[in-house]
Symmetry: C2
Subunit: 285 residues, 2 copies
């Protein structure tokens, strides 16, 4: 099956190209989502859809009336055979308009692809991963913070800092030295019984799995807080883990020179999230 | 002729699409140039090429050995009949690679399009234009400042602030309130005999026409300086003008409520730049 992936629908039809005049390519005027698919069902779909719609709204991308049902149809078509994998959705503002001014009548483009699951080692989930601190810093911009838009040079630049495959992720700080996120994940710390994660009001991507973990912890009675903390403050946590929609929860076993063990809170959350995700995958209707 | 434009070459062949998996679309991992073509010749070509190469280098985009000659061939093919217009070049990092990490062997994509000249009123050049101040602020990021990369949501967001076609441009400030640039142009001020333009070390696009105007003024014995000045400091200038490769030099006649006349320094520079550009258009070999 993997040999024939990715499969892609562009505006509902098989295809794998976009116009070179598209505002997605020209300016990054668009958003994307990366959704874990298990047994043909997209996990945490309502949350992904909500972030996608919020991103389009923030970027003034006009969606057609039947957008949501068209998207559901695309996903059903690609995932109809009980497949496992990753659905990537790209929505762009489409072609047209002179320069940066968007056309009054926008023809947004909808790209939905099914990719195989990345081949992450199983040990990442149970034993944890090694991470590093990136030199690249994120600039503060509340107007674009949180959404998963197509301007991702920050992540490209930060990820280009290392080639060593033993290092699973790099952590990026903001200009004043507060910890923000990983290049492809959000970061959590357990410190004195509290679950902490960086505030993303000024930069960073508000991960769907991040929100799900916060809500899950809340429901489990674990105290949660969004924080602005320095590298040293984060590194002095008792437990650390990363999240995203594809990896789920990865404990951190080493950050730069510092070592950690997978703690009790991380394990409880990992098990709970895994169990709930299986259920939530059915939550599409 | 305009009815059949734009004409586009993708990697040297007629076409108008890019892969949906291209890192240009996915992350904005690429750069672009917008070049004025007069009588079949691209103006200020060496400067455009230099910025393009610098941008690719900053973004670690690997170019093939024959890149420059292939680009020249594309432009010659599109502009072979003594046409006037605008050449837009997009270079992307190509497809491949898992997530943000670029593939070790990059297949960069080369898109070259010929567009008709935008229909700007002649009055913009002689009488000047009306401009406004944007609410949107540019974040400081020295790693991406200056180059013309494909992450242009800043410009899209700022340009979306007005629809009134009487307003030709919007001026964008940085987070601390210093004037940086227009959404599609650079800004110059003449103040006490000096030619001032915002420093672009932390944000903004280092326009090819901006550099050319600075060098030209220098050669004419006009004192030039790159500055960090507030809105009020800029607005209190005696003369103001905008530059980019397509518009050349546009005097500013009104900025928000404040009025200006096209001054002597602006006129001298406008005439000199116009004359030199005609000559420089031949500077391709």
């Amino acid at each position: 099956m993997t040999t024939e992936l990715p499969k892609t629908l562009v505006n509902g039809k098989p295809g794998d190209t976009l116009s070179v005049y598209d505002r997605g390519t020209a300016y990054g005027h668009g958003v994307f989502e990366t959704v874990r698919v298990r047994n043909g069902c997209p996990e945490l779909w309502r949350r992904h859809l909500q972030r996608l719609l919020e991103g389009c709204s923030r970027l003034a991308i006009q969606l057609p009336v039947q957008f949501e049902s068209a998207l559901n149809k695309d996903i059903a078509e690609l995932c109809g055979q009980g497949v496992d994998g990753v659905i990537k959705i790209i929505i762009t503002a489409g072609s047209g308009g002179r320069g940066y001014l968007a056309p009054q009548e926008m023809q947004c483009q909808r790209v939905v692809s099914l990719f195989p699951m990345p081949a992450y080692p199983d040990l990442h989930s149970c034993e944890g991963v090694q991470i590093r601190t990136c030199d690249y810093r994120l600039a503060a911009n509340s107007r674009l913070a949180g959404i998963k838009h197509l301007n991702r040079l920050d992540q490209v630049m930060a990820r280009a800092e290392w080639q060593d495959s033993a290092i699973a992720e790099g952590i990026v700080l903001d200009a004043v030295g507060n910890v923000i996120e990983g290049t492809m994940s959000n970061l959590f710390a357990v410190k004195n019984g509290e679950l902490l994660t960086p505030s993303l009001d000024e930069c960073g991507v508000r991960g769907v799995m991040r929100s799900f973990v916060l809500d899950t912890a809340d429901a489990m009675g674990i105290k949660t807080r969004e924080v602005s903390l320095t590298l040293d403050e984060f590194k002095s946590a008792q437990e650390l883990f990363l999240t995203n929609s594809v990896i789920g929860v990865w404990p951190v076993k080493q950050w730069d020179a510092q070592h950690y063990v997978r703690g009790a809170v991380t394990q409880r959350l990992q098990q709970k999230v895994e169990a709930l995700c299986h259920d939530a995958a059915g939550d599409r209707q």
